[in-house]
Point group: C2
Chain length 292, copies 2
Amino acid sequence: MTLFFNKVTIIGVGLIGGSLAKLMKAQKLCGEIHGAGRSRETLEQAVKLGVIDHMGRGSAHAVEHADLVVLATPVGTFESIVREIAPHLKNGTILTDVGSVKGGLVRTIEGLLPPGVHFVPGHPIAGREKHGVGAASEDLFRGAKCIITPTEKTDAKALEAVTALWTKAGMNVVMMEPEQHDHIFAAVSHLPHAAAYAMVSTVAEFSAGADNYTTFSGAGFRDFTRIAASDPTMWRDIFLNNREALLEMLARFMEDAQAMSRAVRWGDEAYIVKRIEEGRKIRRSLIEMKQA
Amino acid sequence: MTLFFNKVTIIGVGLIGGSLAKLMKAQKLCGEIHGAGRSRETLEQAVKLGVIDHMGRGSAHAVEHADLVVLATPVGTFESIVREIAPHLKNGTILTDVGSVKGGLVRTIEGLLPPGVHFVPGHPIAGREKHGVGAASEDLFRGAKCIITPTEKTDAKALEAVTALWTKAGMNVVMMEPEQHDHIFAAVSHLPHAAAYAMVSTVAEFSAGADNYTTFSGAGFRDFTRIAASDPTMWRDIFLNNREALLEMLARFMEDAQAMSRAVRWGDEAYIVKRIEEGRKIRRSLIEMKQA
């Protein structure tokens, strides 16, 4: 199979959308790339940087005649964007996304599409501290995992094409159920972010006036703020669209934090040491995984 | 004032103790350095690496005739070490430490020392992911803060000497009350570590079997494991010796985590966005601080 799309439309030309555009151009996987999105300024920058060829007047117009449409906006916008573009998608178009939430959202999108439009839900696990199209790079995805969550409705050929696209980006494509994806990412990504925001709130209360506690932050708090330095709209949307799984993880986490607090109060050395050793073990396994 | 110590004894020749020894040698601040500590193997390695000149048979013997004694073991060992070495310290010896807890521990140590031995409590904010004397470097301290927490009992000349030592290490020395130190570090360091251990416990429950959640960790959970990859004895001791301040911070943090959980449950977008924006603001201020 030759992977080639005459017209690609990317809705949301930020770090991920921009990096995908750069990759498709670098590997000559497309004829032309149209960009759409809320911010005219971002699109103008993307055209100027050569990341996209054309900027659309609106998503509905931009997707006309497209062979591949990529949703790369915050997940909270997906439903309304799909409602808007659905009537303008040609027969045979592949629609995919890069959202961090699947589950119910995937079912909703599937319900909005006309027959003959093929939706393949995807989630490339890529990111860096810098945001925006200015930070986009065709190497962003290399070596990382991309989760694809097909359903019983997913078209086999469209699935094959999207899998091939992310494989060409250098990603290890993993397939799973949309609901399993959301449970996993509630644990390893959404919970850490929610906890980091809570932590920043806690410490921020001591950041006013002359003895600003944050000026003394060593590695501990600094690492939390790295996690917390994320896009507000994107993360608000992730939290609210993966509500049930995130609430479960937050509840579990608060139990574990309470248990740690109780161990500190009562001097339960064995409990504390066990938790720390667990942390080291998992850290080592992650480092080995990365090196493997 | 010329800063020079004929004999220096470092008790606990790990990353911090070893780095201080290297620095004092590199800057010719001492005649000879004796090392003491629990692990004979570590001390032999330190001698072999040229970090220390002699390894003591025991702390009591190693501190005899020393002009400067540095406690660089986990804080939970300080009291018993000071009880052991106190009768062997000569008149005029400066005793200092690099512990992450001050407060009550400082008062305890002061109460154990004979008159004429000058204790200057210190806490260089330095560290890296690697531990042990093999990772020691005279540049470890450069550009970071060192907290010194003198009390009404602290000798002025000894204070001046310890301040000069850390200044020569490239550190910005900050003075404060021992209790204020413990409150600040409970917030910016001990709480983040305790929360990271709790988080690892939460996610570790999903790490058995084929669908090991941790294999999907992106930046979020990975940053937590970096914090959690610390020395178990060191952190157990810090938690138990800064109990009250850490319990206060854990309680505040759990309130904030509950508030975040409630906002997710009820779709309180404004609350979530406010917390995320707070995180970004603090992150930016920390980055600017580092660049300044």
